[in-house]
């Protein structure tokens, strides 16, 4: 049976998707044969550049965020697979500059492996790089070492905030410090309702019974806290936000950035209804939402579910979050 997807050759998904992406956004980005997505109007060379890497299949992430105010280069792997070290090294070489490179890696085995190898080689070539690894998934529970916590949609907030800092002309040390401050104050929890189809193999990424959902499931079907009956939007919002608040230690009076990132098939309608539930929960606890984003930033094909992200904000982080950006997937004026 054919997959219910609009594709041509399942082995050419990434190339064709990047081709279409470059055609649709040729005014902002270009795609090289090594699958580097770069800006067509490069950032001035005296500013810190941002490089990231990750598998395809999560559109608009990651490459949708290449552009003014966010990323300089994104290295694209195959569907759900890290790109190899040679391409990442090439990206770091292209990003090389005196101001230095901020290298953002999501904590997934392949990405870390590939990123570290490329980083080692690049540093041996004298490229000035600071690495930041995002690992803000709290599904594994409190006390889990950073190395065992996955990077989810938090990377996008980090691209935005660190990208704005870089665009503002801050030094690599400053940009990295800002990125780490955000990194240490953010958390994400995912929930899945319906599985997605792997677009190359046609297989379901995981199974979930008709009357169940699963909180904590990762963006490739990695197990979460176990299935539960389907809960209402308000209950789901409260359970998830309660855990996030605990994880980042948010207290009454704190100011949060909240992101509800749709996984694919979950509608914007649902996300707004959940957002309403999040607001109710936080109101009860005296915590303020000072900034938010509701929509699809990092998807998992047509999976139903979403990722809920929260970060404690200070004035500087908030200003950077609100600073202008202009990328294929996101523009702030």
């Amino acid at each position: 049976m054919k997959m219910k997807k609009f594709i041509n050759d399942p082995t050419q998904l990434t190339s064709e998707l990047l081709e279409g992406f470059a055609l649709a956004h040729g005014d902002m980005i270009a795609v090289s044969p090594e699958r580097l997505v770069t800006r067509v109007r490069p950032k001035s060379p005296d500013k810190v550049s941002l490089v990231t890497l990750g598998g395809a299949g999560h559109e608009p992430a990651l490459s949708g965020f290449v552009g003014e105010g966010m990323l300089d280069i994104s290295v694209v792997g195959d569907i759900f697979a890290a790109p190899g070290p040679p391409a990442v090294l090439e990206a770091l070489r292209q990003a090389k500059r005196d101001a230095g490179v901020l290298f953002v890696v999501l904590n997934h085995a392949g990405d870390v492996l590939s990123g570290n190898m490329a980083l080692q080689m690049a540093e041996s070539e004298g490229i000035k790089i600071t690495k930041v690894v995002t690992h803000e998934d709290i599904a594994a529970g409190p006390g889990t070492p950073d190395a065992d916590r996955r990077g989810l949609v938090g990377c996008v907030a980090l691209y935005k905030i660190a990208g704005a800092a870089a665009e503002a002309g801050k030094s690599l040390e400053e940009v990295a410090a800002i990125a780490e401050r955000l990194n240490n104050n953010m958390a994400t929890l995912a929930v899945a309702m319906k599985a997605a189809t792997h677009p190359a193999t046609g297989e379901a990424l995981f199974e979930l019974p008709d009357d169940e959902m699963e909180i904590g499931m990762g963006q490739h079907g990695e197990a979460g806290t176990g299935p539960s009956p389907i809960r209402s939007a308000d209950e789901t919002a409260a359970i998830m936000m309660e855990n996030l608040v605990k994880a980042i230690g948010a207290k009454a009076g704190d100011r949060l950035l909240v992101i509800l990132n749709g996984a694919g098939a979950t509608t914007l309608m649902e996300l707004y209804i959940v957002f309403r539930g999040v607001k109710k929960y936080l109101d009860q606890h005296g915590i303020t939402i000072v900034a938010s984003h509701v929509g699809e930033l990092l998807t998992v094909q047509e999976m139903a579910g979403f990722q809920m992200f929260a970060a404690k904000m200070d004035d500087e982080l908030l200003d950077l979050w609100k600073a202008p950006c202009n990328t294929p997937a996101w523009a702030v004026k």
Binding site: A109, G110, L113
Partner: protein, 221 residues
């Protein structure tokens, strides 16, 4: 096979073209079993390991085809790099490093005795270990490779290359088999908890096949 092979000298060393034969035979082993690798990764991971290994082997052989005159050292370095480019995920970087490490152990052209062959494979694994913390029992490639290395280390120069690789391949196969009883501590399988019990690790299975290919090449020649 012992006794049917050529001169005593032939039994004690291998030449560079035999090493490329080892690599090609390893590729053949993977090609013959890629569906098994995919099936294993479908249970314990994301189902792309068979494809990743096929692409790696394509890259390996294409690189070798493209530089028939080159030094083995250089061929392995280029192949490793090509594997890294061809296969994403965990396989490309680790397997690529393995080949690059193998190449790095070699001097100028010439015959390799048992010690050199052992050093070559051990160096491949040592380089991999610079990038992975995985140890025996973590349900990864290392569960095949580390027992093979231990076996190589137990033998001195007196063991003929073909025999040496045969023993290493057997240790790797046994190690891969034992991953069935392990919970995963690395890679995607980590997140699956005890759902992976009873299934061999795809990466360990691949590495056992590669070593089986190495041994097969020498034992046939």
């Amino acid at each position: 096979m012992i006794g049917t092979t050529g001169t005593p000298h032939m039994k004690d060393t291998v030449n560079p073209s035999q090493v490329t034969a080892m690599l090609r035979t390893a590729a053949g082993q993977i090609r013959a079993r890629h569906q098994l690798l995919t099936d294993l990764d479908s249970v314990t991971g994301d189902g792309d390991h068979g494809t990743a290994m096929l692409r790696s082997m394509d890259a390996l052989e294409q690189t070798m085809d493209a530089m028939p005159e080159a030094e083995l050292k250089e061929v392995l370095a280029k192949s490793g790099w090509a594997v890294m480019s061809a296969a994403g995920g965990s396989t490309g970087p680790l397997l690529g490093t393995f080949f690059i490490g193998m190449g790095a152990s070699l001097g100028e052209a010439g015959q390799l005795d048992g010690a050199a062959l052992s050093a070559m494979i051990r160096r491949g694994v040592t380089e991999m270990q610079k990038h992975t913390q995985a140890r025996i029992g973590d349900k990864t490639m290392m569960d095949a490779l580390l027992p093979a290395v231990a076996t190589l280390e137990q033998h001195d120069e007196s063991t003929p290359p073909a025999r040496l690789l045969q023993l290493a391949a057997e240790s790797a196969a046994l190690g891969a088999e034992q991953t069935k009883d392990m919970l995963a501590k690395f890679g995607r399988a980590r997140n699956l908890g005890d759902r992976v019990l009873g299934h061999a690790d795809p990466g360990a299975t691949s590495m056992a096949l590669i070593l089986a290919g190495f041994a097969e090449a020498l034992n046939e020649s």
